[in-house]
């Protein structure tokens, strides 16, 4: 990444502001994801309404940042690393916004489980670990963007593969439970949806680091085999 200053200090300021906004949005998303997972794992229903209500802040930031990007493209015609930064950010905010949606889904699912009454299987399946790994991915991805560090990409992509594998294993466990005791089906379906949301959060984190690689190195590593990274 280019640390030199532009001749236009206003342009510098605009790009710096853009990055700050993305980090702000990232921080908000991380808080939401973490709060939603906590609520599910600790079985607390107090924060759920707040989580659902806070999602609009993320949505607004997405719109603001996209608007900001459009202005920079129109006024500055960014090139090279500046262009990659703006293009990368346009993609990254989409993933961040979707992470926010997934957090909201987790919160709503948790509320429905509460309302339906709990079942013992909720704690026997490994969502706790899945959530921990996914949240860590979110932090690593945001960190990679904040420092524009492409070296973390491989780590995140590999960890996301683990998340995917773990999700499948949770699915198998829940199917077994449902077959053994159909009364668990209502709640098990909610748990599947929550596990799916967590798994998607991991995918979005992966997408973000892929964009970081593009911003920093100009390489498009999307849809590549792991060996080709």
């Amino acid at each position: 990444m280019n640390d030199n200053q532009h001749l236009s200090s206003q342009y510098n300021e605009e790009l710096a502001q853009l990055r700050t906004q993305v980090l702000q949005m990232g921080g908000l998303v991380e808080t939401q994801v973490s709060a939603a997972m906590d609520a599910y794992i600790s079985n607390q229903s107090t924060q759920l309404a707040e989580i659902v209500a806070a999602d609009h802040k993320i949505n607004n930031l997405e719109k603001n940042i996209d608007d900001h990007c459009a202005h920079i493209i129109a006024k500055r015609q960014p090139t090279a690393s500046d262009l990659r930064l703006v293009l990368g950010i346009i993609k990254i905010v989409t993933d961040l916004e979707r992470m926010g949606d997934e957090a909201k889904k987790i919160a709503k699912g948790t509320r429905r489980i509460h309302e339906a009454g709990q079942i013992p299987i909720q704690h026997s399946v490994g969502i706790h670990h899945l959530a921990e790994v996914a949240l860590n991915l979110v932090r690593q991805a945001l960190d990679a963007f904040a420092r524009l560090d492409a070296t973390q990409a491989q780590v995140v992509i590999r960890a996301d593969n683990e998340v995917d594998a773990e999700f499948k294993s949770i699915l198998r466990q829940l199917i077994t439970h449902m077959m053994e005791d159909p009364r668990t089906i209502t709640v098990a379906i909610e748990i599947i949806a929550i596990a799916r949301a967590i798994e998607r959060i991991g995918d979005h984190a992966k997408n973000i680091v892929e964009q970081v690689v593009f911003v920093v190195e100009g390489r498009d590593i999307r849809h590549l085999e792991e060996s080709a990274l």
Partner: protein, 257 residues
């Protein structure tokens, strides 16, 4: 860089001196056939000097000296060789300048000029060639009814297209554009850029421009020059998204003059 693509010219170990001052330092670069190559760089980096070396314009002043080769294909002549007649070179290599510089003659005579220098006297041939050149420079429809009006009655953008027609009349193989649109408004600029796109079906174009977005729009290849050196040469698409050299990056992102 793909070396299998046909080349119009190859620049090899090229140095240029204004007296004792070395203005260009060891330039090596291919000029791809029927493509647009843009030369970009800050003022004083030598891009115009470089451009003008192709048609030996520096010969007009004493004390200027070339070293190295500019090999012109397909006949592999060295444009810089003492044995080559600069007038003959300029027949094969046309040039368009920053400010439109029509001759104080009619539209018709401006385009006919190069052909007459060549000794063309047949009126029929002249008329055909003039019409073709004006059509190729996208000016024909605007001037066909007033070919014998003074060229000065044309607008700036039209005058520039007339200069392009004048350059095209002698069927050049290479066209040199030295900031051809910097004196024109955006509409006229758009017309010239569109024209360049059409012209490259027949001729190779080398353009110096200060407008980076223009280089990005019109060229297939871009060369970044700085202080008389060729810093980076490559496909325009990759230079504007991922330049290899930090100095190119700084220049095209507006981090240095």
């Amino acid at each position: 860089m793909n070396t299998n693509k046909p080349l119009k010219a190859e620049v090899k170990n090229f140095n240029f001196f204004y007296g004792s001052t070395q203005a260009l330092k060891n330039i090596n670069m291919p000029i791809h056939d029927k493509k647009v190559t843009a030369l970009i760089g800050p003022s004083g980096c030598g891009k115009s000097t470089y451009l003008r070396s192709f048609n030996r314009m520096h010969d007009l002043y004493p004390g200027n000296r070339y070293e190295g080769d500019i090999i012109f294909h397909p006949d592999n002549v060295n444009l810089l060789s003492e044995a080559i007649d600069p007038i003959e070179v300029r027949m094969r290599i046309g040039m368009v300048f920053q400010k439109p510089n029509p001759f104080p003659k009619s539209i018709y005579e401006n385009v006919a000029y190069g052909l007459r220098v060549r000794g063309e006297k047949n009126k029929r041939v002249l008329e055909d060639k003039i019409e073709a050149a004006l059509k190729n420079s996208a000016l024909w429809n605007e001037v066909k009814d007033r070919l014998h009006d003074s060229a000065f009655n044309l607008s700036g953008g039209q005058q520039q297209r007339l200069c392009i027609a004048r350059a095209l009349a002698t069927d050049p193989e290479l066209l040199l554009f030295d900031e051809p649109t910097s004196a024109l408004d955006p509409i006229a600029t758009g017309a010239i850029e569109e024209l360049m796109h059409e012209l490259k079906e027949h001729v190779t174009i080398l353009i110096v421009t200060h407008n980076m977005q223009q280089a990005a729009r019109v060229s297939d290849y871009t060369a970044y020059m700085y202080l008389g050196e060729m810093i980076e040469f490559g496909e325009t698409n990759s230079i504007f998204i991922k330049p290899k050299d930090k100095r190119t990056e700084d220049y095209i992102t507006g981090r240095m003059g």
